[in-house]
């Protein structure tokens, strides 16, 4: 992973890594708007304070997104207890996780649906590995797991995903 030189524009960085951060944030938030709030908070904190720390910047950002998502979930829980139902929040969820595929978009929708049905701990590893482009060692460090456990969860995630896609009889690519 590249370092973040001081002269580099935050916009270049945000545009390059924003999509994977947003996807990761969406695994731990109910709506796209919540996920964007989380990404914004984590990115601003990273760009202002953390990028000068050295080390692996994207790892810091993923950790920051995860922490911001947990904080937001706690706040939302309190808010939900006061005024909202889970159904109304789910209804707010807008837009897909991935860019629309031109000719075979049914398959994308099916994959997104299947990913949403994965257990949290498998989904998190899958997203970090495939779209976050993290190694199992990095995922393990980030989630407090061994690299072997991260690799196992990744494999279980793929098996479960495949099973869900076959069960739902969704169109093949």
């Amino acid at each position: 992973m590249e370092d973040t030189p001081q002269h580099e524009s935050w916009k270049d960085w945000f545009r390059q890594h924003g999509p994977k951060l947003l996807l990761f944030a969406r695994q731990a938030t109910r709506t796209r708007a919540d996920a964007e709030d989380v990404v914004q908070e984590a990115f601003v904190r990273f760009w202002r304070y953390q990028r000068k720390l050295g080390g692996e910047p994207l790892g810091l950002l993923f950790a920051s997104v995860r922490r911001a998502a947990v904080d937001l979930a706690r706040r939302n829980l309190r808010r939900a207890q006061r005024e909202l139902t889970a159904e109304s929040e789910l209804a707010e969820d807008d837009g897909g996780l991935f860019e629309v595929l031109g000719e075979n978009d049914d398959r994308r929708v099916a994959i997104e649906t299947a990913i949403r049905h994965l257990p949290d701990k498998l989904r998190e590893v899958l997203v970090l590995k495939i779209w976050g482009e993290r190694t199992f060692e990095e995922i393990g460090t980030q989630l407090g797991l061994s690299a072997n456990t991260a690799a196992s969860r990744y494999r279980y995630a793929l098996i479960a995903l495949r099973k869900l896609l076959i069960t739902d009889n969704c169109p093949l690519p």
Binding site: W10, K11, F14, R15, G18, P19, K20, L21, L22, L23, E36, V39, Q40, F43, V44, R45, W47, R48, Y49, Q50, K52, L53, G54, G55, G95, G96, L97, F98, E99, L101, R108, I111, L126, I130, W131, R155, L158, I159, L161, R162, L165, P173
Partner: protein, 137 residues
């Protein structure tokens, strides 16, 4: 992993996550601009205070020379510390590799001397760094 899983993995990799909205990017831009403006504003205050401190110090030294010869020396009558601003730097890494939470507290120290009739005030900026070691982060 078997062939089917590799195939699925390759298919997943072809999917491109959606980018954050333009509104999200605009909000990041606004937050970073606000942070920069705040830093610049403090720097201007800091510079002005430093200049006034130097001027006051020069005046003080000149005054002391005069008053010592006139035997009516200025004597300190007040010292004040005012917290001007606090700023959370967040997690920073020290030279030894340890991570700490750093807070900057910016003060304006004011010292006042008087010889009964005349008063000399010296105002100087001061920054205090507080660091709290992080055991696990």
């Amino acid at each position: 992993m078997n062939y089917k899983l590799h195939e699925l993995e390759a298919e997943l990799k072809r999917l491109r996550p959606r980018a954050p909205s333009e509104l999200c990017e605009a909000r990041v831009e606004a937050a970073l601009a606000k942070a920069r403006a705040s830093t610049r504003g403090w720097r201007r205050v800091w510079r002005a205070l430093a200049l006034s401190g130097v001027a006051a110090a020069l005046a003080l030294s000149a005054g002391l020379v005069k008053t010592s010869s006139a035997s009516a020396a200025l004597s300190p009558v007040a010292v004040e510390n005012e917290v001007y601003d606090t700023h959370e730097d967040g997690v920073v890494k020290l030279a030894d590799g340890s991570k700490v939470w750093r807070t900057r507290i910016q003060y304006v120290d004011t010292m006042r001397w008087s010889d009964g009739g005349r008063t000399l005030t010296l105002t100087t900026p001061r920054e205090e760094l507080r660091i709290v070691p992080l055991v696990a982060y």
